[in-house]
């Protein structure tokens, strides 16, 4: 499951940013009109949809393999 590692690495990259957001010392994330909170929101959205599509693709591949084996 190579893609799992890939997703884990991407998710892990965001942990420090989210931790920073949770802590009180959030000067960076609140700078320039809190624009970086919008960036976090977009990244969460992107990651969520990508993970969903990866899982869907894996299921489809499984079904395709089944059909090919039956023929």
């Amino acid at each position: 499951m190579n893609y799992k590692k890939f997703l884990l690495i991407i998710a892990a990259l965001w942990i420090p940013v989210l931790l920073k957001a949770a802590s009180q010392d959030t000067d960076f994330l609140r700078s320039t009109g809190k624009i970086y909170s919008v960036v976090i929101v977009i990244c969460i959205l992107f990651l969520g949809i990508i993970i969903f599509l990866f899982r869907l693709d894996r299921k489809l591949t499984k079904l395709e393999n089944q059909i090919n084996n039956e023929q």
Binding site: G33, K34, V38, I40
Partner: protein, 310 residues
């Protein structure tokens, strides 16, 4: 195939539009925040996205109510985002009030007009200043400039996070459309017993649940930056979480039965009940009580941006 391209195009449009549309000018800070009557006041104003040095015709007012206002005597521009305004505060407050909150209105031909509500508190000072013979004039503010280009409305505290309306709010709209499609196919399945409709229904519902969970997470991040906590006891948050748990039980239900027809019938019936529960949880109950969400509990959304402001 065309709808895949359309989907990708809309997605790109939302990303680009949501990130590149500028935020309208606004006032982030005003100091001092309170003064006495009769004072000769220098008010330093910090703006956001303003064009103080580029614009030429600056005007400013302190507005007390619909008929009382005082224009700035002198406006000195320090840089693009800061300016110092000199006001001669009249000697007594109208109707002999002790304390009044004044709204600061700035206007120039590039940024249009923008306000800071309750920017300055004016206290009735007992000391008799030499200027205290000045009275509040009946002053009507008119000929305000209008900003030409389109932008996100500036709101205090929200600032740039108002862009999240393109992402967080759109997720919930998409979730509801998908759930309506899901319940439509659930009913069609129950009427025809055609298993294809069950596949449609479950696929719509699953994507809707994904969007709902993403909506909760993105809303939580947004709340951290505007309400200063990831989760509040806001009714809408809790009720939506309950609704999402009901829909998570839908997934559990589908996973629990191996028999295809039984699973299809059970989950179709369950999704109808879940949708019926969702409407009062998300749309009715938060409107009956106070909620931090705009548009709930008598709390206006962006109604001020309407043309007729109703």
């Amino acid at each position: 195939m065309w709808w895949k391209i359309l989907g990708a195009a809309i997605f790109m449009y939302v990303l680009i539009g949501g990130l590149l549309t500028p935020l309208n000018p606004g006032i982030t800070a005003v100091s001092p925040s309170k003064t006495g009557t009769g004072e000769d006041l220098i008010l330093s104003v910090t703006g956001y996205n303003t064009h103080f040095t580029t614009a030429k015709n600056h005007r400013a007012w302190l507005k007390l109510d619909s008929i009382h206002a005082v224009p700035a005597e002198n406006i000195s521009i320090l840089n693009e985002n800061t300016a110092e305004l000199r006001f001669l505060i009249p000697g007594t407050l109208p109707d002999n009030e002790e304390l009044a909150a004044a709204t600061l209105i700035l206007d120039n031909e590039m940024d249009g007009s923008f306000v800071q509500p309750s920017a300055l508190f004016i206290q009735n000072s007992q000391t008799q200043n030499p200027a205290s013979d000045r009275e509040w004039q009946q002053y009507i503010i008119k000929d305000l400039s209008v900003r030409k280009s389109m932008g996100f409305p500036y709101r205090n505290i929200l600032n740039e996070t108002i862009r999240n309306t393109f992402f967080h709010v759109a997720l919930w709209f998409a979730m509801f459309l998908l759930l309506i499609a899901g319940i439509y196919y659930a009913i069609r399945y129950l009427r025809t017993q055609d298993i294809v409709f069950d596949h449609y229904s479950s696929a719509f519902n699953k994507v809707a649940i994904l969007y709902g969970i993403l909506g909760l997470i993105t809303g939580s991040v947004w709340a951290k930056f505007t309400w200063n906590t990831f989760w509040t006891t806001d009714v809408k948050l809790n009720m939506t979480a309950v609704a999402m748990l009901i829909y998570l039980a839908y997934l559990v239900l589908r996973g629990s039965s191996a028999d295809q027809d039984k699973r299809a019938r059970l989950s179709a019936a369950y999704s109808i009940f879940a949708f019926v529960a969702l409407i009062p949880l998300v749309f009715v109950i938060p409107r009956l009580t106070d909620s931090l969400h705009p548009g709930n509990g008598g709390n206006p959304a962006l109604g001020g941006e309407d043309l007729d402001n109703t």
